[in-house]
């Protein structure tokens, strides 16, 4: 059975910006008419960073800037969510600060109010990743300094609690919530950690990828956890590697792509996989075998590939650019739409039919 949903090539809109794009996200829409994107930009001319909201119109293709919020430092991680019918944005910076920006319920594109956690409070140096709990008001932040923090978003201020501090012995590069009490982190040596707030002090489970004798393990750049299968953590990283770690069989990772994946799997790319997300749009061809198969996964890479990979299937390439695709996001409400940021100061928006 072929992946029927992707039989037609997607409609691609390339929108040139005159600034470097550090991250892109869709903003949860309040009505079907709004298509809002949040973009973290870096202007090398003025050496300034900002978060902008843009509304997207497909015909004629156009991104219109709606609001702009200047950041004191470049954005290292950007996430969007919704709380009390208000969209909000969590941004972490290279300087180590976290900013929570709220849109108005009438005008979601305006990022008017801001809550700040200043630099040096949470982390020494840059924050690698921040993740918002689904539907909640709690964020997890991880950094190269080896700290794991929980940031609670209050009415008028942010408060935090340190979950773990490795004093630099371990660095974390990414984090993702699995449930209101559990989250996963990723780092060097293709390592993954599973944390449970009910069992504080240390990670409850650890994994280190060393399936290939020829190459040394690389870095995990991005992880994702599917809301319906909270025991499986999907990870993407160096050398085109994408793998899934099932907590029920923690010593047996499932390699979806990359070196060592074997002849049966064709890897869509060979360089850094910058971001991975479960693709809610692609219909899995493995309908019968629900629980053991990994759901379709979308990846973007340094060598300019945006593709959907699935266990035991040929990958489907959505976009092949001459430059790197640094980040992407699948719209939660309209999973046919994908926004991604390209290295050469532009944004691509794909609409799958």
């Amino acid at each position: 059975m072929a992946i029927t949903a992707l039989s037609e090539p997607p409609q691609i809109h390339r929108l040139r910006q005159s600034k470097y794009i550090d991250a892109v996200r869709w903003l949860p829409p309040l009505s079907a008419l709004d298509r809002l994107a949040v973009i973290a930009v870096f202007d090398s001319d003025s050496d300034s960073a900002a978060i902008e909201t843009h509304s997207f119109a497909p015909d004629p293709e156009n991104l219109t800037q709606q609001s702009q919020w200047f950041s004191p430092s470049r954005i290292s991680s950007l996430k969007t969510s919704q709380s009390h019918h208000k969209p909000f944005v969590a941004a972490a910076t290279l300087a180590g600060s976290i900013h929570i920006l709220f849109g108005d319920s009438m005008d979601p594109a305006s990022l008017e109010s801001e809550l700040l956690m200043p630099e040096k409070a949470l982390h020494e140096g840059p924050i690698s990743c921040v993740d918002i709990m689904d539907g909640g008001v709690e964020c997890v932040s991880v950094g190269e300094d080896g700290r794991v923090n929980l940031v609670s978003v209050g009415e008028s201020e942010l408060s935090y609690q340190r979950i773990f501090d490795s004093s630099g012995l371990v660095s974390f590069t990414t984090a993702k919530w699995a449930s209101p009490s559990e989250f996963a982190t990723g780092g060097y040596g293709f390592s993954l950690q599973w944390w449970d707030q009910r069992k504080p002090g240390a990670a409850v489970s650890q994994f280190k990828g060393s399936w290939s004798q020829r190459t040394t393990p690389g870095i995990v750049h991005s992880i994702d956890i599917h809301p319906s299968r909270k025991h499986t953590c999907l990870a993407g990283g160096s050398l085109g590697t994408v793998f899934a770690w099932d907590l029920r069989w923690p010593q047996q990772p499932i390699l979806l792509s990359g070196v060592g994946a074997g002849e049966t799997t064709h890897s869509p790319c060979e360089s850094e996989v910058w971001e991975v997300h479960f693709d809610h749009y692609a219909k899995s061809s493995n309908v019968g075998n629900v629980s053991s198969r990994i759901l379709p996964t979308m990846i973007c890479s340094e060598d300019g590939i945006l593709a959907v990979v699935e266990q035991g299937e040929e990958p489907v390439e959505l976009l092949a650019e001459p430059c790197a695709i640094n980040s992407f996001d699948i719209d939660r409400q309209y999973p046919s739409d994908v926004i991604c940021s390209l290295e050469w100061e532009s944004i691509a928006i794909l609409t799958r039919s």
Binding site: K19, E144, P322
Partner: protein, 724 residues
């Protein structure tokens, strides 16, 4: 004032320095640009120091003189400000330049790969020329791709209701960059258009004449002026300017505009048709003849006028026939019956232009290039060859001297004069390194001489060719910007001689602070198989992270680089903190790092000891938890493997043995056999010898530790001998 070079300040050296200057300095070339600095310091300023910062930025350090010790001056001693220099090109901003730079990468890379595959193919077939017949088609494809980056040539669609008084259509402001590129494309790359080059030039001038208006009046600027007046004019044919503009537009071949403007003639008005019949007939005839002008080109765009001829003999025949009709009209008796003087004279003047009367043409054109173009249209429509074009250009320039030369004009003269060096110099001066690096591909296609000139390796340039030099210069510009450095390798690797060396320097100099840049850098190393560089960069990154307290990342990068030496050195530091801090509680902190290190010894520089030590401690903990003899046996296994392992540091020997006292004094039966006990006793002996050495590190243990270990080992040995 410091920082400003004043001519009057130092007169002694002035005459001497003039004689020894290598390059004649022409101060009138460019106006100096004044940048104001906001340093906010109170005068006096003692010293200024200027250095290059990143990209186009100058770093200016402003220092005040050291204040006297007793003064209560709390003012800061100095400040560093950065001055951003604009690149002096108002037409194209930085962001737009970057957009062009990104966009030109794929066509450039494609052309280079085609060149190398064509070269390897021709080597195999031993063909005399490396370029087979369709090489120019590749170059043409490249040129079209680049041209599309330089601006939108798409004119907006024609309005549904055409305003008869809109003579000039509103189009996007053309750029000189695109104009220059199209010039080179038509002369060098597009071999298909060689037979109708003159018509291409006419089109080119129609598109870009407005650019020349910046330096002197042109037909275009005349038209713009008239267009503005047009709305207020009542009887248009009475206005001498109407006829002047008509003849000018006709002279440069903008026949659509001419025909449209003739329709504005008052005799077309309904109530006048009756009494101006003859006048109207003449206007209509002229307009009809103009619209039927023969043109030596394959086709005209929709809505454009003229009759096209592909073959030259057909064109010559048609042209002569057309001229015959005009001559006949010129001698017509109807002129005498036309009583509107302006119309009669205006139309007659237009007929003279079409008949190729050089005086009339000269009178109605402004710029020499317009005169040049109208010569092709009406005087010498069969001109072939650059040489005759060049001599014509010189004649035109004598008739219409320029006050100041536009960059484009200099390029045209270079092309017509077949002077590749002039073209390069003008491209560089007017458009900068991007243009030169990319236009060289067109120039080398133009002629064998140009190709030889550009590809010849020159001693004066350090053994590289002019083409390579300009590519290197462009790559250097790309490297200096934080957003474009990633595309510099594509240009550097196309440079045979110096490219790889400069690429290595570029990769070494990139910042490694942020993982993203570091990984992008390593990716480039991987693509070009620069393994040594990538391992060096990883070492630099490893040491950087280690020094900044991120021990895990430091170890990771040094492991990736397989740097045994640095790993074993930092291992000593790690062991220091292990000795003090590894308790049961802190193992949680260490866990991740120990996992990262793994248990194999190849790439860890002795750090795999930590892995074994952790396993030993874990099994020991189980023993103390009151487990059976089996777990104790496992603990002994770990103990022996630890003590056998050469990478276990000496300073851990005694603490390890002291920790395992319970194993040595196991009550039920001796856990260690004779050889195992002897091994441990030997280690203990070695330790006592080492104590005498000055670099010995005393373990932090109770004073009787050594003797209790020795006693336990001796007891165990006795029991083991008895058992055996």
């Amino acid at each position: 004032m410091p920082g400003v070079a004043s001519g009057s300040g130092d007169t002694r050296g002035a005459s001497g320095s003039n004689d020894s200057s290598l390059v004649p300095y022409l101060p009138e070339l460019r106006q100096p640009v004044v940048y104001s600095l906001h340093h906010g310091l109170k005068p006096p300023i003692g010293r200024l120091s200027i250095s290059w910062s990143r990209g186009n930025n100058l770093r200016v350090s402003v220092l005040r003189p050291p204040s006297a010790e007793d003064s209560d001056d709390v003012e800061v001693g100095g400040r560093v400000v950065e001055v951003r220099l604009s690149n002096g090109d108002g037409e194209t901003g930085d962001a737009k330049w970057r957009r062009i730079a990104y966009g030109s990468v794929p066509p450039f890379a494609l052309l280079q790969s085609r060149r190398s595959s064509v070269a390897s193919l021709s080597k195999m077939s031993m063909s005399p020329s490396p370029y087979n017949i369709d090489w120019w088609e590749y170059v043409m494809e490249y040129s079209k791709d680049i041209n599309s980056l330089l601006g939108d040539s798409k004119a907006p669609p024609n309005p549904v209701i055409d305003d008869p008084k809109t003579v000039l259509r509103n189009v996007e402001e053309p750029t000189s960059l695109k104009a220059a590129w199209e010039l080179m494309e038509m002369f060098y790359a597009d071999k298909q258009c060689q037979s109708w080059l003159l018509e291409r030039l006419v089109d080119w001038l129609a598109d870009y004449d407005s650019l020349l208006s910046s330096t002197q009046p042109t037909v275009h600027s005349k038209l713009v002026d008239f267009q503005n007046e047009l709305v207020g004019l009542q009887v248009i044919e009475d206005n001498p300017k109407y006829w002047e503009v008509l003849s000018s537009a006709l002279a440069v071949g903008w026949i659509e505009i001419v025909v449209k403007m003739l329709r504005l003639h008052g005799s077309y008005q309904f109530h006048q048709l009756g009494n101006r019949e003859i006048e109207n007939g003449l206007v209509e005839t002229v307009s009809f003849l103009i619209s039927k002008m023969p043109r030596m080109r394959p086709e005209v765009e929709y809505g454009r006028l003229g009759e096209c001829y592909k073959a030259k003999p057909d064109f010559i025949k048609a042209w002569e026939k057309w001229r015959g009709k005009i001559t006949k009209l010129d001698c017509s008796a109807f002129w005498l019956q036309c009583d509107h003087r302006q119309t009669r004279e205006g139309l007659k003047n237009m007929i003279q232009i079409m008949l190729g009367n050089t005086d009339n043409i000269c009178n109605v054109t402004c710029h020499w290039i317009e005169l040049f173009i109208s010569h092709f249209l009406y005087v010498r429509p069969f001109t072939v060859g650059l040489e005759s074009m060049y001599s014509l250009a010189q004649k035109c320039m004598q008739l219409k001297p320029m006050s100041s030369a536009h960059g484009l004009i200099a390029i045209i003269l270079g092309i017509l004069g077949e002077n590749t060096e002039v073209i390069l110099a003008e491209c560089s001066r007017a458009f900068g390194p991007w243009m030169v690096a990319h236009a060289i591909e067109l120039l080398t296609t133009g002629s064998d001489e140009a190709e030889f000139l550009l590809q010849e390796e020159r001693h004066s340039l350090g053994g590289i060719s002019i083409a390579e030099l300009h590519r290197l210069v462009y790559a250097q510009v790309l490297s200096s910007h934080p957003l474009t450095w990633q595309i510099a390798p594509i240009y550097l690797t196309s440079c045979m001689k110096q490219g790889m060396g400069l690429l290595e320097i570029l990769l070494y100099k990139l910042p490694i602070q942020h993982n993203e840049t570091l990984l992008k850098n390593l990716e480039i190393c991987r693509l070009y198989e620069l393994d040594t560089i990538s391992s060096n960069i990883m070492k630099i990154a490893g040491v950087y992270h280690w020094k900044h307290g991120r021990k895990g990342s430091g170890v990771f990068w040094l492991q990736q680089a397989r740097d045994e030496i640095r790993l074993s050195r930092i291992a000593q530091h790690l062991f220091d903190s292990v000795g003090k801090s590894i308790s049961d509680e802190s193992f949680k902190q260490w866990e991740g790092l120990i996992e990262l290190l793994g248990s194999e010894s190849k790439t860890t520089g002795g750090l795999e000891f930590l892995h074994k030590y952790r396993d030993f401690k874990k099994s020991l903990k189980q023993v103390y938890g009151g487990k059976t003899t089996d777990t104790a046996r496992q603990a002994v296994e770990s103990l022996i493997s630890l003590m056998k392992n050469p990478s276990t540091p000496q300073r851990f020997w005694l603490p390890i043995l002291h920790d395992s006292l319970k194993l040595l004094n196991w009550q039920e039966r001796p856990l260690l056999n004779v050889s195992q006990t002897s091994l441990l006793l030997n280690k203990l002996q070695e330790l006592s010898m080492a104590k005498l050495r000055p670099d010995f590190i005393e373990a932090d243990l109770p004073p009787q530790a050594l003797s209790s270990v020795r006693l336990a080992l001796a007891t165990n040995l006795g029991r083991a001998i008895l058992e055996e």
